[in-house]
Symmetry: C2
């Protein structure tokens, strides 16, 4: 039976660290539960999860801890694309074994100006080596960070050769015309996710599947509301409300800002820790950000009681 | 007793793969022996080693196999800088335990526009966690690839706080004015390596320590000759000979070109395999490159008998 593909809102779940900068599974578990309670899926180990600041062993351990402690793996889309083919295979195989409904797969990102042939070989090798139709790959197009864009012709070739494994894409280009172009291809059951809720309404109207957005870590309920109500008259207003929060937060370094916000609303400052090379907001940045959010009547209901 | 710092010519040793794209320790060992026989040190797991296409486990295993089979670890400067702090610590700790005389340390390279504070914390955490004065770090400045330049102020801060661990730098900016600026600081026992032999004579004349260059994989003896004879009248001519080969080879994608050349002169085509996202030269590229080298009377003495 074919696996039902993701649809809706997912968060690249931010990763808490203990005083020794080890991943804090307990706090991560709580945040995952809070997200799931508002129908937000779990794109753990994404860019905003500091996923690339974690070793493969740490990611496997966290995945196991979350699932062993009751997180529904069909709501999980872990990031499994690493620079080393063998790492990507190992992590993707584990995600499939543990029942994750999909994986979000970065292209290898160290070498620059790589060819589409090389990227094709990378994805093809992973698919062949994992060797399971349960491997559902959402390609990750984030050219400003990965520096390895996922071109149309690459997707076409992968879809032709591996239709069962290529499930969709997250478009974090920030360029709506690229997302639109992907949607216009009319590929069968290919799910296009916007990389930010700024494009959620546009994406849904054009036939997209939802969004995978950093700010779903903090504005989960509101983003999910627009996803459910995009066909209603209220949709435009809901989008405007989302934009207000997103545009405010993304004025700051995004990952430190998300951690400062969750730390504040969870009344748990340990959330503010980041692994280098990322650093926390300055006290003045943090204060200004939180004041701006208060002024917007922003809240994270249910978070502190978690 | 303080560890004597590297001086001379090192190669980021290219990594052979078997038919299954597993690292081929036997062939790597042979190539390392060939390099050492011409006084070229072993910067294994560098950019041109496809170091970032190998998992940490694969690198640890290769390091062990090389050393267990007689490679002198005091001639080794493995690349140990990974995106994840914990990976860098694990690999660097292993390199120190196995007696490597230095490590070449990339900054974390996934997140872009990171701060100098974040890079400082990354290096400082590694040094603190490895916790050994035997950890000799050569910083790796390769901004076009890592996108995380090693600024002067960062080096100064690291040297001030960790003078025993910060041993030098490889400058792969390709910008001689940057190398010169580093040399002019007059830092005590800080060894500056050019990232290409194109700058070897300039670097030696300005007080540099040598070069760590991709093309030392193929032109080892000649590069070493200039290193030994840079004070002689013949130096300029030797530099010109080196430039001829380097400029010819670097017209091609460098790593596939090096592998094609070694494969040809070792009469062993298995050297041509690369891990994706890198791909081999096209047949016409390979043929043209080899013809150009022949025309220049290029050879790799001793390689085929290895």
């Amino acid at each position: 039976m074919a696996i039902e593909r993701f649809h809706g809102v997912l968060a690249p779940v931010i990763t808490p660290f203990d005083t020794d900068l080890r991943p804090d599974a307990e706090r991560l578990l709580n945040h995952c539960r809070w997200l799931l309670a508002q129908n937000v899926g779990l794109a753990v180990f994404g860019t905003n999860s500091e996923g690339n600041s974690l070793s493969v062993d740490e990611k496997i351990d966290l995945l196991d801890q979350l699932i062993d402690r009751g997180i529904d793996s069909t709501q999980m889309m872990p990031g499994t694309g690493c620079c080393a083919l063998t790492d990507s295979v190992r992590l993707s195989t584990h995600a499939v074994r543990r029942g994750c409904r999909g994986v979000l797969m970065l292209p290898p990102f160290y070498y620059k100006h790589v060819s589409d042939e090389g990227l094709y070989q990378y994805y093809a090798q992973i698919i062949e080596r994992v060797g399971s139709s349960a491997l559902q790959i959402y390609l990750y197009h984030i050219p400003a960070v990965s520096q390895a864009p996922i071109h149309l012709s690459l997707i076409e070739r992968l879809l032709k050769d591996y239709p069962k494994n290529i499930a969709g894409i997250k478009d974090s280009s920030g360029d709506w015309s690229n997302t639109e172009m992907l949607l216009q291809q009319g590929w069968d059951d290919f799910h296009v996710f916007a990389g930010s809720e700024l494009f959620l309404l546009q994406n849904m109207r054009a036939g997209g599947a939802g969004c995978i957005s950093a700010t779903a870590n903090i504005n989960a309920a509101a983003i999910n509301q627009l996803y459910r109500q995009w066909k209603t008259e209220d949709a435009k207003r809901l989008q405007q409300c989302l934009n207000k929060v997103r545009l405010l937060v993304q004025q700051y370094p995004l990952i430190p800002a998300l951690k400062a916000i969750v730390g504040h609303y969870a009344a748990d400052l340990s959330w503010e820790r980041l692994r280098p090379p990322l650093v926390a907001l300055s006290p003045i940045q943090k204060q200004t950000l939180l004041q701006q959010l208060e002024k917007n009547h922003f809240s994270m209901p249910g978070l502190a009681e978690n």
